[in-house]
Symmetry: C2
Amino acid sequence: MKKAIAIALLAAGATVAQHYSSGGELALPDYRKWVYLGSGVGMSYTETSRENPPFTNVFAEPAAYDKFMKTGTWPDKTVLIAEMRESATNLSINKSGRVQTAKVLAVEAEVKDSTKGGWAFYGFENGAQAGKLFPKSAACYSCHEEHAATDNTFVQFYPTLIETAKLHGTYKER
Amino acid sequence: MKKAIAIALLAAGATVAQHYSSGGELALPDYRKWVYLGSGVGMSYTETSRENPPFTNVFAEPAAYDKFMKTGTWPDKTVLIAEMRESATNLSINKSGRVQTAKVLAVEAEVKDSTKGGWAFYGFENGAQAGKLFPKSAACYSCHEEHAATDNTFVQFYPTLIETAKLHGTYKER
């Protein structure tokens, strides 16, 4: 029966990545098997430079990604994950530039959930498997609202989504 | 019938990503939906630095990835893709560091195929959908043989694979 439900959900294009605890925390999904949207290194919204700039890798739940590629917007229940990872140089035979190491510095989620008033942000601290909701006063909410190119998400930094969003008229130059 | 075969292949854990033309060229897979292994920026095996260092994003075919996570080595028919992508700074609200742009500079594949003598490398030039085999004299063959940590692949740069390879005794410090 469970299997039948799962197949029905998949057939309907529903996403099943979003699981909350009774306390409203978000369960950490197995996002490393999700669809990769892009990376930055040393990204900052101020003009600072860091000696060891971290990488930011962003992933989308596969069913939500498929829906975006058809419509240029994210379906309800979309989960995106941003993973901040330590960088290193002079590792093995790599002599310049930077590569990623095994050290994960932070994991955050952005979740679209109409039953919770739209987009919300969660932080997974120090390897936690449960993400805590950031309060609506946190900078992420206003920053995404003001600067995100498409549907509250930074599609301007996700190169494979840009063309689709432009085709569907959901891309704002920001 | 086709569906039954596909399901049987999936059940057997076989990878189905490898398709050759009659001329021996490799068909470009839809690798952006594959499992992301990691990125570097400005990677070089010599001590050079570039004004606009490109990103290198690496992807594994999902069934091959699952097999690696169980065994610490790649199954026959594994396909890995390296995508070189242009970087930019001062894009939108990002004021430092670098992000990825929509411009793909190069795509290369590394393929494990026992019917072709083991690992082989293919290059997809200028957006080509068919990859040409690099000759065995190309630098990629000797470099991977001498410097790759695990099974001819640069697992030292793929942080989520390192622990698995070490657990299975397939990791060489290089």
